[in-house]
Symmetry: C2
């Protein structure tokens, strides 16, 4: 558990910090100049010994990509590292990984004193199934066959409809899979992707890097961040009228940063919408284990589509999953998969080729992903202990989220929806005009101004809503529910204190 | 050592197999059609329920990317897995990784029976330096600070000019770094990259995915695959005349697939050329530990530039390194780094942002990369044993390469340069006209035809030269020097036998 919670703290750091908002003035490209001028430029450059790669000659798509650069703020966020719990991990995953990394241990008697029987058996069986019996070799570009089979089996158990290992592409975290799909679909700024507002900035960054069009649809904050299919339809039509060919719909369930869990009926409507409009559904289901409500539960889009009678080939769906969330939170291992169903086999072949350009995802991450999809089951020696640990972590997240919501509801000018799932909440703050003016005169978005002040005053790192998208004129911030209850109480009390002073300072 | 050699065998599999050469007929893009037609198309599509993503609507850059899809041939290559040596690994790297994966071990007394003192000390010091003391958290997007510092220190020891941790970007293998650099530089098919012929297909695939122009320069086979700066100049001028703006020069040293090691004087000329022509030098130095000649040694481009008096900011150089080669061969761990020197700090900031879009590279791979750059040193308990293991592996590779060269030289119509470094050789085969005709009638390149026949007859997997580039009308294949001497003797005898029969069958 220490591992999971430490991971979680780093994750907190990763989820926070300032955004790249600077857009550099565009410099005229010389590509399109007549050759005569090119020659002139060439010699001019030669004479000046100007550096080969400058900020004005790099790919403008790179410049235009807005990314929540977590690296930049790690230093600041380190102050929060005391949130760490120090109870050692009892999740069996790290034992299995250590044994796979150094399988010589498996032949030694002393290993039984150090590792659980479960983990030893599991590691032996995994190593036996890996070609060459080592994690040190390149794997198949889609991932190791036996691990894909284990993941497909886990998906089958989850959904009640058996999975197919040939649909699984193991990836370095979910983000690599998202980039692959965007690269596959986007050929110009006329190719659009329907994306929720607010959304995980990964999607806007990836679409910008490929030079595509982000077609926004708004989640309804006043009805618990609900997703209305009529809104999708309106936005699709508007994009169409503007000459944008919408290729896919991104849905995050449970939602990041919004924390809502979709109801089955809503998912059915989304599936019909995608079928009617010939859209590929990109289902971001990385928070599938993070559910904190008794009223709703996670159901995969795959299961819903199958329950509606659609077969493997009838519905175009890519589902993303990751080892970085859930109760395991092993973000540093960079494990993930995407399950690709319904796509033409020639398109899947192209995806396979793209995967092969990077050779393969890291094998330790692959193993961990297979463990996450096949946790200890009834009958396994470690089952009781494992479920206790898992439930403790999930229940701590649940309680943290409820503490946050309660605290935010009490703050003046703040509203906050319940957290049904995921790892974040996204409260709305009604900022007084004086704060808006002060932000403007500091050259910042108003929510960035608020978050920056919060950080400087309290050391607490939150991310301004403008990085995720929001209804113009509204202001939000994203906060994670990861800290332990004790730390959370302290954090919330500091935020409440800061908020009161801030609202007083800038009151109208 | 088992681990390293198993890795090496998978690496063999990875380096072989058929290439994607199929180019699909180009389909007119509808993006450029007038809106009226778009509407027509839209409704047409709606009526037909055509799938959202088809082979004719995906990104044409993906289609045009030629990649040696190793995934595809893993099944075939599995036959070669008996090459495996079964001696257990004594390299200390995997011990350290296991301890970092499950650091609870470090607190237990029994660990001393299972792990060397060196590895325990090293793992403790690494874990102490990682924020959160876990490999389970996201790291800084450039990689963990202490590991970058260790790598910079290792670079300083290697070169005699101290390294700077801020220049280091840890990556998932060297290929991620290459993709980042190509994405940074290439904005259209007017942006060119000077690439050796033959070259690692990673470069052509990456340039194609970004839609840039590969500007070829030819290595001179008759003088041991030497790199002539006049050839570079001619090719640059030709590209310039064709309206291509060349941004960078790729140099592979030691060469893949060609096995040559550059002389210092040659490196100095290359550096001056890049400075004169304002080119960024992309130095693929992943085989720096794989040297098999007493006449030459590996010197990094960085060291040469510094020896010439250029400071950190005077020369634009990106050097790539990886944990997948050398004597360690841990390809499945996906560890690597690029060292970026001389670039404008604003450009480096953009690279940092690009790295952050993928959050971070896998932490286990990061740790391994730092170990590779800081192997046991004189005075460490495991030093003697480590050097013995390393030297055994390198000497086995050396002997394997010499066995290959000798055998190929004896085959009719085959010539082969010495292998000075790297993991491959690239013999030339003079194929008889009848073989060329037979290949054509099978719709294959002549070397693909040869390699396919070799595979089907003997089970030995080699890669046809056409995937790497070669002087038109010449034919080659790439073979790895990884198999042990015993297996290598068997492989070479089977190839000689096959070759004789092939040449007889198709003799003019």
């Amino acid at each position: 558990m220490r591992r999971a919670l430490q991971a979680i703290t780093s994750n907190l750091a990763a989820s926070t910090g300032q955004l790249y908002r600077r857009r550099l003035p565009s410099v005229p490209r010389t590509d399109t100049l007549p050759e005569r001028l090119l020659i002139h430029r060439y010699f001019f450059f030669s004479a000046e010994r100007s550096p080969p790669i400058t900020i004005s000659t790099i790919n403008p798509k790179v410049l235009s990509c807005d990314s929540a650069v977590h690296g930049e703020i790690v230093t600041r966020a380190k102050r929060l590292q005391q949130i760490l719990l120090t109870k050692p991990s009892d999740l069996p995953f790290s034992e299995v990984l250590a044994l796979c990394d150094h399988p010589e241990l498996l032949d030694k008697g002393e290993v039984h004193g150090l590792f659980s029987l479960d983990s030893i058996t599991r590691a032996k069986s995994i190593m036996k199934s890996i070609p060459g019996r080592t994690v040190g070799g390149y794997s198949d570009s889609k991932g190791i066959r036996s691990l894909r089979a284990a993941i497909a089996e886990g998906i089958g158990i989850r959904d009640g409809f058996s999975g197919n290992m040939e649909d699984i592409f193991l990836t370095d975290g979910a983000s690599s899979g998202v980039h692959m799909m965007m690269r596959l679909m986007i050929t110009s700024d006329r190719d659009g992707i329907l994306c929720p507002i607010p959304h995980d900035p990964l999607y806007s960054a990836s679409i910008a890097l490929q030079g595509g069009a982000l077609v926004p649809y708004y989640l309804n904050e006043s009805t618990g961040w609900s997703l209305d299919v009529n809104e999708l339809r309106l936005r699709l039509e508007a994009a169409f009228a503007a000459g944008i060919h919408v290729r896919a719909l991104v849905v995050s369930n449970p939602g990041n940063p919004t924390g809502q869990v979709l109801a089955d009926q809503n998912q059915r409507e989304i599936i019909e919408f995608c079928r009617d409009e010939h859209l590929l559904l990109l289902a971001d289901e990385v928070y599938q284990e993070n559910i904190y409500t008794n009223k709703k539960y996670f159901t995969s889009f795959r299961k819903i589509a199958r329950s509606m009678g659609y077969g493997e080939d009838d519905f175009n769906l890519v589902s993303f999953h990751s080892v970085s969330k859930g109760y395991y939170g092993e973000c540093g291992m960079r494990g993930g998969y995407m399950e690709v169903t319904g796509l033409d086999s020639r398109v899947k072949q192209q995806l396979y080729k793209m995967a092969s350009v990077n050779l393969c995802s890291n094998v330790t991450g692959q193993i961990l992903m297979s463990l996450v999809m096949n946790p200890p089951r009834v009958g396994d020696g470690s089952y009781a202990h494992f479920t206790e640990e898992r439930d403790n972590i999930l229940s701590s997240l649940d309680q943290g989220s409820k503490m946050c919501v309660d605290a935010f509801k009490k703050m003046k000018g703040v509203t906050c929806n319940e957290v049904e799932g995921g790892l974040y909440l996204f409260p709305s703050i009604k900022l007084p005009n004086a704060a808006l003016t002060a932000a403007r005169s500091n050259g910042m978005e108003a929510d960035t101004f608020y978050c920056r002040k919060l950080l400087d005053t309290t050391g607490i790192v939150t991310l301004p809503g403008s990085g995720f998208g929001q209804v113009p004129g509204t202001w939000h911030f994203r906060m994670t529910i990861l800290p332990s209850q004790q730390k959370m109480a302290e954090i919330l009390s500091r935020i409440a204190d800061f908020h009161m002073k801030f609202m007083n300072e800038y009151r109208n």
